[in-house]
Amino acid sequence: MTIDMTIKIGGAAGQGIQTVGTLLTQACCNAGYHVMGVNDFESRIRGGHSFFQLRISDVPVNAPSHQVDLLIALNEESWHRHQNQLKDTAMALIDSGEPIESDDRAVNVRFAKIAGQTGSKLYANTVAAAAGLSVLGASFDLIESILTLQFKDKKQGVLEKNMSAARQGVEAVEKMHLETRPLSKTSAPKGQVMAGAMAFSLGAVASDCRVAAFYPMSPATGIMGNLTAWTGQIPLVVEQAEDEIAAVNMTIGAAFAGVRAMTATSGGGFCLMTEGLGLAGMTETPIVIINAQRPGPATGLPTRTAQGDLEFVVHASQDDFPRFVFAPGTLDQAFELTKKAFKLSEQFQVPAIILADQYLVDSLFLLESKFEPENEINRFIVTDSDLDEPGSYHRYQVTPSGVSPRALPCQGEALVLVSSDEHREDGHISEEIDHRNAMVDKRRAKLPDMLKQMAEPTEEFPDADTLLVGWGSTAGALTEAVHTLRQQDMNVGCMLFTDLWPFPAETVLKRFNQTKRIIAVEQNSTSQFARLLRVETGMACADSILKYDGRPFTPNDIVQAVQQMENR
């Protein structure tokens, strides 16, 4: 790649960091670059320290970098915090009372003061964005078009004031030049900027989800926020429940009554939903739960990322029942696996869980090909006309596949009887040994066919001596790390899992049998995937690269860890 730059915008919560980040990302996308942006913020509304980190390149980028080319510091603290990540060639535009003279990469630009002169300090972030774009080589036309896109729907005057603030910002850095000015050359956009949360929300819409119930919890709330905006345009109701217990039970009730339904939460909320997950398992009600992971236990780090819930969601609830677990790693996978979760959940009448995380839902990625709707949606439902004798319909009729014909309540003569107690084929509760065994066996009988639906892991250089194994959102960092390591003549490949449960053990055993050494790469502290792999296949990972500080992996984290292992 010839261009690979990272721009970091830091400041306090409430200073509009995300707005600057979005503006810069949009501008770089429109200028024809690949972009990806990471939001790093604290669980607070004002103060503290937040930053947005944008990476732009002329080749696809799907992970944050560890080095910074341009720092836009809306306060002095941002300089002190990120100074050590700056490349030698970097520039830092800093809004500090006293100019920082100890470092010649530092340039003092009084964003807030300049904004004050144009009308209000509120526009400091626009001044900063324009200044940043300008040193990156953007023409004012580009800046203008981005501001128009961002503010055209706002109250009258807002766009004009932002435009004037932007002019001042450009003027303030007029004589300053970064060595590389990527925005001085533009080409057609490579795609569109999209947050991971949006891909999940669109996946739900494309699945014809009609009821979504939730209790607000970072970082899952954004997924529900998107859905809320579309109610009225499509047959969809989004309800904020009194707690996660209610949310999952509403979801189950809606699914039982016949629509596709979902809920989204994070680990703590998933804890409360566990009881309902079991109910969905026992009553064979198809629901979709998105768990956008954050570090735990308990409240943990509310606004940060983790992959610590894998073993939890795979095993959550008392006793055994079949379920699906998917962990997408990209925008495309978020959309496709949400659709797959809805479909398979209904096809097999089991709950489906999607493991996302804060990094995936809150980060901005480049969507390169459009998400398309389905031509039709197969609901795997029967009505009276499909039944020989609807009057003697049995919801839990034993079948070889374990899947019983599913009728909906109050849609005909067939009465639908459902119990959370163990039950007979007709749905009435029973403690008879034969009934219990028949129902456990029936539910379990779905597993072989469910397994056939599990996609194989994707791989890069699978014949390598060392295979890095990851799942979910670490895909971008892992893939890039592999390419970097190979450039350093290390024989490394990777295998990335998205379809996690039921665990595709046989496929994995076939794929791995040539490999000499497997290293698990995960964002938890005990290498949960490695443990799952061992339990399900008997295969042991030689080592693990783990990160549990709540921040996403950079490719460099992985590269360095592998190098250290080699040098041991």
């Binding site: 569109q192 819409v205 499509i234 109701v237 009730g253 039982f256 009554a257 003569e413 009465l415 009435h428």
Partner: protein
């Protein structure tokens, strides 16, 4: 009494002989027949407990769910299919204990369903522990020195939360109870009946005779008077008024949802066009 045979099931009933649930079951069937709700148009959602087994003994669609969770589950079903006739059978522990938060919020939402709280002031299924409505001082195997918390008054709580239909019934006054259930089923919005019932096995204080001496059917001429309703709901335990305390006008949850289609969500076919419109609205590719 109308013919209630079509609501009978052949599922074996194992409630204790003399259980108040039998009176409630009979009153329900009578009310359903009177209101002409056919089994195939009826959904009964229940939680867990002896009361929650009720739908097994009524010909209907049924979701016998989790302890305390019947109300949110019923709301979800109602969202999916606004045409459903939903009755929720719950008990004092199920509704006021495990499901207390859901009870509060179901009232806030004014979900159009009828909640029947079988209130025997004790836990029956788990063999005789105190419930949220057990009276102060009542001794049980698990509270041998007596209950030391005050009981929840379900109807009074519902009234403070702005419930539109609140009534109290008694399992021993079956015809009266049937009339209450009929009125509740006709009410648009959340309707609840706290139904006093003896537990012949575990509540030796609030027996059938104890209630018989105290309950009094009353005529409430002004069903819109919340103050009067509260007075009735909180009357001294020596004289327990049963009847409808409040049956005001109400705007139910489904009708509060803006843009909610008049057809049940479940009956609207998949529409590629509107789905495409949403996908297009956020995609610029």
């Amino acid at each position: 009494m109308t013919d209630t045979k079509k609501y009978d099931t052949n599922f074996k009933n194992q409630w204790c002989p003399g259980c108040g649930n039998f009176g409630i079951l009979a009153a329900m069937k009578d009310a359903l027949a009177a209101r002409e709700i056919p089994p195939e148009n009826l959904l009964i959602v229940s939680g867990i407990g002896q009361a929650a087994k009720t739908p097994h003994f009524i010909q209907c669609n049924m979701f016998h769910s989790l302890h305390g969770r019947a109300l949110p589950l019923a709301l979800g079903a109602k969202l999916a299919n606004r045409d459903l006739n939903i009755i929720v059978n719950s008990g004092d522990g199920d509704c006021y204990g495990e499901g207390g938060n859901h009870f509060i919020h179901a009232i806030r939402r004014n979900t159009d369903l009828t909640l029947l709280v079988h209130n025997n002031q004790v836990y029956g299924l788990t063999k005789g522990q105190a419930s949220p409505t057990s009276s102060m001082g009542m001794t049980t195997p698990l509270q041998p020195r007596g209950v030391i918390s005050t009981p929840i008054n379900g109807p009074a709580l519902a009234l403070t939360l702005g419930a539109g239909f609140v009534a109290r019934g008694f399992s021993g006054c079956q015809e009266h109870l049937s009339r209450l259930i009929q009125a509740a089923l006709s009410h648009k919005g959340f309707s609840m009946i706290d139904i006093l019932q003896p537990c012949v096995s575990f509540n030796k204080i609030n027996t059938h005779d104890w209630y018989k001496e105290r309950v009094k059917e009353m005529d409430n001429p002004n069903l819109n008077d919340v103050k009067k309703a509260m007075e009735l709901a909180t009357a001294d335990s020596d004289r327990i008024p049963i009847g409808i305390f409040l049956a005001g006008e109400s705007h139910d949850f489904i009708s509060r949802i803006p843009d909610f289609k008049t057809r049940p969500l479940v009956s609207i076919p998949y529409d590629k066009q509107s789905t495409t419109a949403v996908l297009e609205s956020v995609q610029s590719l």
